[in-house]
Assembly symmetry: D3
Homo-oligomer: 68 residues x 6
Amino acid sequence: MKISARNVLKGKVVEVTKGATTAHVRIDIGGTVVTASITNASVDDLKLEVGKQAYAVVKASDVMVAVD
Amino acid sequence: MKISARNVLKGKVVEVTKGATTAHVRIDIGGTVVTASITNASVDDLKLEVGKQAYAVVKASDVMVAVD
Amino acid sequence: MKISARNVLKGKVVEVTKGATTAHVRIDIGGTVVTASITNASVDDLKLEVGKQAYAVVKASDVMVAVD
Amino acid sequence: MKISARNVLKGKVVEVTKGATTAHVRIDIGGTVVTASITNASVDDLKLEVGKQAYAVVKASDVMVAVD
Amino acid sequence: MKISARNVLKGKVVEVTKGATTAHVRIDIGGTVVTASITNASVDDLKLEVGKQAYAVVKASDVMVAVD
Amino acid sequence: MKISARNVLKGKVVEVTKGATTAHVRIDIGGTVVTASITNASVDDLKLEVGKQAYAVVKASDVMVAVD
């Protein structure tokens, strides 16, 4: 499947924390760690676990820009 | 200002394309390029231009995860 | 690629309207038409055109619920 | 109230799962089930329960498109 | 229609700017002006124009918090 | 840090409710209360507590408009 999201960033899962319904997954993208907040169900479906290769996917309209 | 968004990724602006009301800004984050779709007004306010240091900011709930 | 987004709705493209930087794509999902606002670049990359089979993908945290 | 969100999809609630602060509500839209992640407070306010008619509401800028 | 979005802020439209496909609408909420980026089609459907009473609607998961 | 988000609304924290992984923070913006759903980790990092001055930050593309 190919998706319209402009940002598909390849990395490796470094942390998975499940909550009651929502999980936090951290992915290391070449040294930068990105945090995703997804459903517990998705964690199970994608069999996400530490060390697994994964992509952080972000729609361009969800990215903001900041400067110092 | 410090923001709750979990993802504040430091990089350098490599492209700015303005549309009628919406602009696309591309930021190089250590070799990975992230695309942001923001208002033209924001581009002006932040004086974004190629070569400028900037951050791509993404809320954790806007990050998805994908696997091959 | 398998994605964490809970909503991957199969349908057919019924309209593509490009703007200056942003395009609107309408997908018929079994009789219900869903509108997506994506970048022009994505339309080109995915070769989206009327009649093509496609999926509308939405993260669960981006879905609201309303009642009459 | 009429809303700007382009996608207001009529259906019926088929599942409500409350977590600590966040609930997952599943709505059947003519055979396609859409999952919404909303606050527990919203579930109470809207008196959402299985069998109730409801709408899944999604802003066009939150819809992505994918192809096989 | 009653919506799950936690933030339904009553105000008055103070500016409408249409682009190629995307419009910016500014709403004064008791002295604070909120900017919405919506489709041109929504502006037409809702007959939005300066002076009209309207609500800015935001899902709780789309609100970030910042401190100085 | 200056951010591209068009909406940076100054107010005061009036409620903080932590869940398993996700917290709800309510900020009074000149009489209007805005609810943010953010990670527990952000609440800790920003030392958010009732009475503290804070900003509700929302990207323009996440704001919808409604009329009666």
